[in-house]
Symmetry: C2
Subunit: 362 residues, 2 copies
């Protein structure tokens, strides 16, 4: 059992058995005599890791042959620009719709505005992003190249429970990738920084429909390194990859497969989130930051009756081995990020602490 539970929004916890394997093999991966991070990315040792990570991701995420899976660098922030640069089409007037449900959704929107005719067709800004707009009543424009959503919003603890009824979706799935089943066929592009649910920061995953890469034309000034075709043509080895992150991703994907895959981990995620939301629902002391119908399973944000008690909560939790619980400044209060790798025991410990804290401070 870990001596500390880490509720950080990302980077965040990795499964203990994954870390133990990394530690065991650190100076000698499978008899190679090398640390994975020292290996040539053109050699057989790394190529096996690279290809297993790609193929396990494809299997667990349910990605069909109609899509490329790319391992790139630069984080979600780089994809905020890569998406419009690759998808906006001069012929169609470079049109895309965005639904703005938080800080990162807004960043994605603002970056895209530079490149074309971009509209924010819905937002929940009016209530500090505490909800997801009703996707069925949004007026999507005709002839757009894509509609962009941020599937899970870490800061506010919200998530889409229903997808916009369009056939050209793009989604930032950084904070929920592989935590619940997703019908990939509904998306043109899915992207995710790996540092929340998969691996140490550095690795970014892009799932992109093959026809977009093979037949599309990126905007003329799109940098080579941001073009999806660059890595699609090179099996994500155009340049030196973030090999250590890919290695940990591979171990993590093996762990997830052994766990039973995404459907099984979703059950555990529902259970884990429920342990905390039940307390919020029963309590008059705590107040959840997001509306019930769109609660995130990955990030549970809430407040106590006062900022002083919020700070006391975070301080005492830290003293009890529960760290990084401070809420984002946009919401304040407390945020518990409970990604796939957060053990049930870690959520139970927090739940018990919440009850005890309420009793002592109400």
């Amino acid at each position: 059992m870990r001596k500390v539970y880490n509720y950080a929004a990302g980077p965040s916890m990795l499964p203990e058995e994954v870390l133990l394997e990394v530690q065991r093999d650190l100076l000698d991966y499978k008899g190679s005599g090398m640390f994975v991070g020292e290996m040539s990315h053109r050699g057989k040792w790394y190529e096996e890791i690279h290809n297993e990570a790609l193929s396990l991701f494809r299997e667990l995420m349910g990605v069909s042959d109609d899509y490329y899976v790319l391992f790139v660098q630069g984080g979600g922030s780089t994809q905020f620009e890569a998406v419009p640069l690759n998808l906006l089409s001069e012929e169609n007037g470079k049109k895309a719709d965005y639904i703005v449900t938080g800080n990162f959704a807004n960043k994605a929107y603002k970056e895209a505005v530079k490149y074309g005719d971009i509209a924010c067709v819905a937002t929940s800004k009016d209530d500090n992003f505490s909800y997801i707009p009703d996707v069925d009543s949004v007026e999507y424009r005709k002839g757009t190249d894509y509609v962009h959503i941020t599937y899970n919003n870490t800061i506010y603890g919200t998530r889409y429970t229903k997808l916009p009824p369009v056939n050209n979706l793009v989604a930032d799935m950084s904070s929920m990738i592989l935590s619940e089943p997703v019908d990939v066929s509904k998306f043109k592009v899915i992207y995710a920084g790996a540092q929340k649910n998969l691996a140490p920061a550095g690795l970014t995953i892009v799932v992109v429909r093959k026809d977009i890469v093979d037949n599309g034309t990126p905007l003329p000034f799109c940098p080579t390194m941001l073009k999806y075709k660059t890595q699609a043509d090179a099996n994500s080895l155009y340049n030196t990859p973030t090999s250590f992150s890919t290695y940990v991703a591979m171990l993590n994907l093996r762990w997830l497969k052994k766990f039973g895959g995404v459907k099984e981990i979703e059950k555990q995620n529902i259970y884990k989130a429920g342990l905390l939301y039940d307390i919020l629902d029963e309590s008059k002391f705590y107040k959840g930051a997001s509306r019930k119908e769109c609660r995130s399973m990955m990030n549970v944000a809430f407040t106590t009756p006062s900022p002083e008690l919020d700070a006391k909560f975070v301080k005492e939790a830290t003293e009890n081995g529960m760290v990084s619980l401070k809420g984002h400044r946009a919401v304040g209060g407390i945020r518990a990020s409970i990604y796939n790798a957060m053990p049930v025991e870690g959520v139970k410990k927090l739940a018990e602490f919440m009850k005890k804290f309420e009793t002592e401070n109400k």
Copy 2:
């Protein structure tokens, strides 16, 4: 002593004591109860690592306050575009000169051509990049925004021993950073992927003169994530950094400081390279790939009398615990990359093997 010596061109060897420390602290960094790759990049644990790595790099590289040191993602390949996007000035006609001394120098040149009035003012392509052109006889154009060089060329084993006599240099130092003293004040920008001399792949270091960032205007379509100002304004924490690579870089920089710094490691690098070049000079069996006056201290490339013997050399070396010695396809033969972290013992072992192989096969 490592059971395998790894002569890969990058990623490449890391100091054993660095890896042992990573292994020891893997699940519990300094009592935090966390792996460094799990920590919030906004928390105190990681911030200390981040700032120590930045400040040790500055100290060991001798970077004055006139420069920003940036930790970014995307590798040297991304800098091939970031450099022209940040430095080319519309007012000056977007002019830059490139000296093309190999594969990566050529890639940098080709990416830049897309963005402005770019000239290849010198190249050693006529003799398969086996030398560095005489920098004093090059006709640099007037009014350029910069002159770009690739300081060390891994594939061919060449390096600049004299700098072009201009005051607006930009250098790719990926394969020699911190291996010998460099007068930073002669450069507008220095960039380097970390995976050869510093850390696992993912981290890229940019040293850029402050006036360029503070007063310059990137080309209008430069992506936010490629603008130097984005990370300069955020102490390289605009988005989630490659925290594990930064951590290993910090440990490696501590190791280099303890070693005595760059001047001391240069002495060892001269000695190590000399052990191999002496054999090439005394032998009629081996032939060096680069001319004597511009030999790399990091990459020693050579051939035996035939491709068959080259292959036999690589095979037998591998069987003897010396791996990744196969030369790049552009040169063929054998390449031994002996970066800072390659122990003297590793070079001696290779030198002895070379002598034995010559005796047995000539």
